[in-house]
């Protein structure tokens, strides 16, 4: 019997149980691995299309590095890096149609990029010029949830609405392994199953909830939970963009056809800190990180494309150039942002006139004006 609660936690294995092999179509060396029935779902992906996905991966990693630099230079208050999770986000988001709707957490900046969010609008939350950047209806993506897990319910509700409206669009909820402990994610699964909602629960199991390993949240593979709610689930190598695309396509296709929800567990790894305020050297085993570095989501696609003769040095250089251009646009979009005027903080609290807000805005406006009169 363990002598203390903390010891019993420490003694548990730190990786997900290996018995259920995740779907993988590209192994870490870039070799194409057959996996029925998912091969069929990417049979149409040509070398050029895979190269386009590779370009996405390169660009979102470049943007992520740029944002981290912007934070270090004091231009952003905070940034949650997605380093290591590029394939899970790009592979799933690239499957969606414009009329689908995404409800994400705060680390899904690659998803936002794929949905067409303007680079500037991705940054103003972290710069502090607004609580959100983009209009959700213009890109089919809600503004990110910071309270983890809450968005699973919103996606489920949206999906029920789409079904009531007789549409074949789907909603996707992105959340992490830590969020699966929250009641909201579990309630979302109960409701989604009951209403057969066209929703995809996309869990990026990046092994860490800030400093807490996934083993503190889950004693079995997270995907094992969904069948208990009556929801089919699949585990996928989250660092394999092709496999993620295949499992997401299958889930989306089933949802569009009235088959209800699917739970996807993308097994990946957060290579950086939780946010730029975090210090993972306090809790991450360097050897574990090294092991995951060998499963890098970009390296395997690059190896595969070079082997197939699709990617050569010239194309790689042009992709790198486009990534640098995106990073420059990103930086300019950040540093050129101006602070909003003081009274703008009273905007949009309510949709209709509100006497309390109106009065406080008036009083504070007069207070501010009193300084101008003095000058």
């Amino acid at each position: 019997m363990p002598s203390s609660l903390s010891e019993s936690r420490e003694s548990r294995p730190r990786a997900s149980a290996p018995h259920d092999r995740p779907v993988q179509l590209l192994d870490p060396s870039g070799r194409r691995v057959p996996h029925a029935p998912y091969d069929d779902y990417v049979a149409d992906v040509s070398g050029d299309q895979l190269a386009s996905l590779y370009e996405d991966l390169v660009i979102v990693r470049r943007l992520d590095v740029e944002a981290t630099a912007l934070q270090r230079q004091g231009e952003l208050g905070l940034w949650p890096p997605l380093l290591g999770q590029e394939a899970a986000q790009v592979g799933s988001a690239r499957v969606l149609r414009p009329d689908d709707f995404v409800f994400s957490s705060y680390r899904e900046n690659a998803v936002a990029y794929c949905r067409g969010v303007k680079l500037t609008e991705m940054l103003n939350v972290w710069r502090g010029t607004a609580l959100s950047g983009w209009n959700p209806y213009e890109v089919g993506m809600a503004t990110p949830a910071i309270v983890i897990g809450t968005q699973a319910l919103h996606a489920m509700g949206y999906a029920v609405g789409a079904k009531l409206d007789g549409e074949d669009s789907v909603a996707v909820a992105y959340f992490g392994d830590g969020a699966t402990t929250q009641g909201d994610v579990n309630e979302a699964m109960v409701f989604a199953a009951s209403f057969r909602a066209p929703v995809i629960f996309f869990c990026q199991n990046n092994q860490w909830a800030i400093s807490e390993p996934v083993t503190l949240q889950a004693q079995r593979p997270i995907a094992d939970r969904a069948p208990g709610f009556g929801i089919p689930s699949v585990r996928v190598d989250g660092n394999d963009v092709l496999a993620v695309m295949a499992v997401t396509r299958r889930a989306v296709e089933q949802a569009r056809e009235g088959g209800g929800p699917t739970f996807i567990e993308a097994i990946t790894y957060r290579m950086g800190p939780h946010t730029t305020s975090d210090d993972p050297s306090r809790y991450v085993d360097p050897l574990e990180r090294e092991e995951w570095a060998g499963r890098d989501p970009l390296a395997r696609v690059e190896a595969h494309l070079r082997e197939a003769g699709v990617l050569d040095d010239a194309l790689a250089a042009s992709i790198a150039r486009r990534a640098d251009e995106a990073a420059a646009e990103f930086r300019a979009g950040c540093t050129e942002q101006t602070d909003p005027p003081p009274l703008a903080m009273f905007d949009h609290v309510y949709a209709e006139p509100h006497r309390g807000i109106d009065e406080q805005r008036r009083q504070f406006g007069e207070y501010l004006e009193s300084f101008e009169e003095e000058n």
Partner: protein
Amino acid sequence: MAEMTLAKALNASLRRSLAHDDRVLIMGEDIGTLGGVFRVTDGLKKEFGGDRVMDMPLAESGILGMAVGLAFKGFRPVVEIQFDGFIYPAFDQIVTQVAKLHYRTRGNVRMPITIRVPFGGGIGAVEHHSESPEAYFAHTAGLRVVTCSTPQDAHTMLQQAIRCDDPVLFFEPKRRYWTKGEVDEDAIDRDDVLPMGSARVVVPGSDVTLVTYGPLVATAIDAAAAAAAESGGGDADAVSIEVIDLRSLAPVDVDTVVASVAKTGRLVIAHEAQRTGGIGADLAAELTDRCFYHLEAAPQRVTGFDIPYPASRHEEHFLPDLDRILDAVDRTMGRRPALYAGAVL
């Protein structure tokens, strides 16, 4: 005009709302086939179908979170929370999401969600079935909080809440569900109908302003009648009380209360909810600020005590009644000593 109970007026109001706008959905536990534990949604599922009047799995956070998603999709969900004490599992969704999404998205996403909550005591119920949690929500920016006291207000205000583009907490005084009154069912279409955010002078008076809302409005009217009839020491003993039904708790229609206190010079506020941090505390501070030179006495509060809602054999002592209200009125009139009489150190 038709005479109906407050519960029936709410039912008729929901029926009109469903017919008026096909984006309105009714959601809650036991609200479909059963018609709700108080039967407020009786017959609506039969009339509008299970896609418009939806029985929910038993998870309040789930229900509100689903309503958020539906609002994102352009629906206008009307959620029933079965009892006041069951709202806390949904508290996170309400204050973190429902209240803030319009602000967070810079006005791009609207949350026209109406949350119906049977609230307050007086029905001899068990724990978690008699609470008055309105102040939690009045404290939260982004929410509107209203409550009705008559079948007519129940009918019109609920429709106003459902048509409002902001989220509205709609508190229903459950011990008054069976109160009957005349209801003009077309009132909402009239130009002179009172907006949802306005207070209403129920009984005009000249000596003391008595402000309350929801279940205590009927008690306040009784208190005003008793004070007017008091004749132990001759006519001089009669006190003319002006009763104001606040109706909206966020925002509060302070102007109506200010106008009354400017006239009477005295203020008593009554509510069932606990005293600390309550609606009465805020109103007393606001009126002290705005009517300081009109006040003849310190504003008095008559409230529930700062204890959890007690067992039902205690509730007659916990709930403000006519005598406790008249006691406070007498203190503002200088007929009884102030609660904190003595030297001010």
